[in-house]
Amino acid sequence: MANLTRRTWLQTTLAAVAGGTAIAQQTGQDREREALAHANHSMGTVGRVGTTVFDPSVYLRAWNFSNLPGPERDKFYRETPRPDGTLLRDYEFYSVDREIEIAPGVFFPAWTYNGQVPGPTIRATEGDRVRVTFVNQSAHPHSIHFHGWHPPAMDGALPDQQVLPGERFVYEFDAEPFGLHLYHCHTVPLKRHLHKGLYGAFMIDPRESRPPADEMVMVMNAFDTNFDVENEVYAVNTVANAYMHDPIRVQVGRLVRIYLINLTEFDLINSFHLHGMFFDVFRTGTRGAKAEHTDTVMLCQGERAILETTFRYPGDFMFHAHQSEFAELGWMGLFRAEAASRDT
């Protein structure tokens, strides 16, 4: 009600007078202190997201469908050794439209790979052959566009490479180079196909494997629920505040490796900040050299990095986007570090 009329003026003036008196009324700083302390614990979403369809804590440490029981897993993932010692890795992907719960009680009409957002994580070793059979079971044309070396026919981006509803396509290429990559739908309009949920992690391990570590995948993503080209929910691995309620358990003294990918749409950048610690950053994971030693790393859309650190102290460590807005809109979680074992 920006238009000032005689009456609105009256309202505002008198409200100001009354407001002033009301504040004067408010004595007792204890009351205020109590209220403030209370409010401090009240940030965040209310309730819990159902984890039967998608559990962020399971997604965190699952690749090549390792979350599925044996026979079920075989339907989606098969390994065939090749003469040169590498593997042929076969994946069954399908796209399907599905409502997903992104914050407690908030359902987003997502477009998904295999019914989940982010899509299943693909993990191969450099030199392996990756073969992804993609069936489009959704109502819209889609594709899978992999980052990494591949011939143009496997790019999934050109107009004649769209997979129409009901059709299938087989993407096949060598896993190169080692590092942390991603895949996503490359059908136009791109913004929509991405923010609707068609993306996932594509990890390629070096031939000489990295040091053993507690490894986890974190995809920074966000959702525009009211179609105003701004995100209402931010998260790492889709569900707002998921790791606040269900902290990521790690061991003190054990190397932790985080595969971090930014797939946030609409916002130019996203970031990862870890409390009380520092970590090594391997940008895109394609070189052995550490790019930096920091506690905050910034990633552009589609950019990714491998982070390595070792927890020094037991206890809870917060991690979140250092864009406070994203953090307060759901992109915030906890690591819970536990001493390695009781007798040491």
Partner: protein, 402 residues
């Protein structure tokens, strides 16, 4: 039918039947619509629900923000999360978060709001739709206690009673005026009232526009105004009829003054309601000094009341009575608006004020015009001058007010 004629006259049964048959058919039709739902067939599967939430009242307390929400849309709405200033915030609902059509709920959000700053409360529904409410300037919402009631009373006295009383003090001057001078003053009064009428219509319709669609604000306003007009017309006739029966009863002039006081009182009730509403909505701004401007503006209402009494012998007690009728409703309005605000009340009472004033304008007009047709009277030089002067005074003092 004819055989039952002895028990019940056939004409009556027929009348009942002709009255009830369409109703029965209508009930069947509605039943059919609900049962088979051709509307749903039109809408098809997978259409998102039409969600609409209206903020009815927002309170700021030491514990945070309390919002009263109404589902104003046709479909059920599930409130899933609450954001304040782009941050998800915990909240508790007094009874539920799943709201059917026209259901209400109250959400308490322990948000540390900052005095004097702006905040935005955003409700996120299960489908991800969002509904925002902006708190333009955050100040604590007065609670219903002796202190706030006293404060509302003081506001009402300040804005309603005192200016009207001051205006009444022009009575001695008015009583010494010539015929033409008096016509001028009465025309001035019409001008003043005309301004108030237009202002009330504008304001009423603008509040009606902010109301939930289901409440049909504009229609409510029009009907409220018409009802008030007719009620005041009836009151005037009743007063005059009583006067004819008893010789000692008041004169036409007195009746007119009384009607003007009642009309202005009703108008001021709506004004008081708006004052209280400002608290209820948590709206506030700066500029206390401008109260002076408003006092000036309302002083003219007192003049309007005494103008018809110029040729009467009036006791002080009667003047006080008229002043109270015109001014005191502001206090009652402020109480109602501050403690149980809803835009419906605002629209309704602005409408009643508008209708009452319209009636009073016509009363003064016809009574002052005497034998002349109203328009010809108004078109007379000095009367027209008075009319414009009245409007100009209101317009100018209105400018002081914003």
């Amino acid at each position: 039918m004819t055989r039952n004629g002895t028990v019940l006259p056939p004409g009556r049964v027929q009348r009942w039947l002709t009255g009830l048959a369409p109703l029965a058919l209508l009930a069947a039709l509605i039943g059919g619509l609900v049962w088979w739902g051709p509307g749903n067939a039109l809408r098809g599967d997978g259409y998102p629900p039409v969600e609409r939430l209206t903020f009815q009242r927002v309170e700021l307390t030491t514990d945070g923000i309390v919002v009263h929400v109404l589902n104003d849309g046709p479909d059920a709405v599930q409130i899933a999360q609450v954001q304040v200033d782009d941050a998800y915030w915990m909240f508790t609902a007094d009874n539920r978060t799943a709201l059917s059509h026209l259901a209400r709920t109250t959400l308490s959000i322990p948000y540390p709001w900052v005095h004097g700053e702006a905040h935005v409360v955003r409700l996120v529904t299960s489908t991800g739709a969002t509904f925002d409410h902006e708190i333009a300037v955050a100040v604590p919402t007065p609670q219903a206690n002796v202190k706030s009631l006293g404060l509302f009373t003081l506001m009402g006295v300040y804005v309603g009673v005192v200016p009207v009383a001051i205006g009444l003090l022009w009575f001695p001057l008015v009583s010494q005026m010539s015929r033409r001078g008096l016509d001028f003053v009465l025309a001035l009064t019409i001008g003043l009232l005309l301004f108030l009428l237009l202002d009330a219509v504008g304001e009423g319709l603008s509040v009606a526009g902010t109301m939930p669609g289901s409440f049909q604000g504009a229609t409510l306003f029009a009907f409220g105004a018409l009802a008030a007009y007719l009620a005041l017309e009836g009151l005037g006739q009743w007063l005059r009829a009583r006067r004819e029966r008893a010789k000692a009863a008041p004169s036409t002039e007195w009746v007119l003054a009384l009607l003007i006081a009642v009309g202005i009182g009703l108008h001021n009730f709506g004004e008081g309601l708006a004052i209280g509403a400002a608290f209820a909505l948590g709206e506030a701004a700066l500029g206390t000094l401008l109260v002076i401007g408003f006092t000036l503006h309302n002083t003219t209402e007192g003049l309007a009341i005494v103008a018809p009494l110029a040729r009467e012998r009036v006791r002080l007690a009667d003047l006080v009575k008229l002043g109270l009728i015109g001014g005191v409703p502001t206090i009652a309005g402020a109480w109602l608006g501050g403690l149980v605000y809803s835009p419906v009340w605002s629209v309704l009472f602005l409408a009643i004020g508008a209708g009452a004033i319209a009636q009073v304008i016509l009363q003064i007009g016809t009574q002052t015009a005497r034998d002349l047709p109203l328009m010809r009277f108004l078109a007379t030089g000095h009367v027209m001058a008075g009319l414009f002067a009245g409007f100009a005074v209101m317009y100018a003092t209105g400018m002081l007010v914003g």
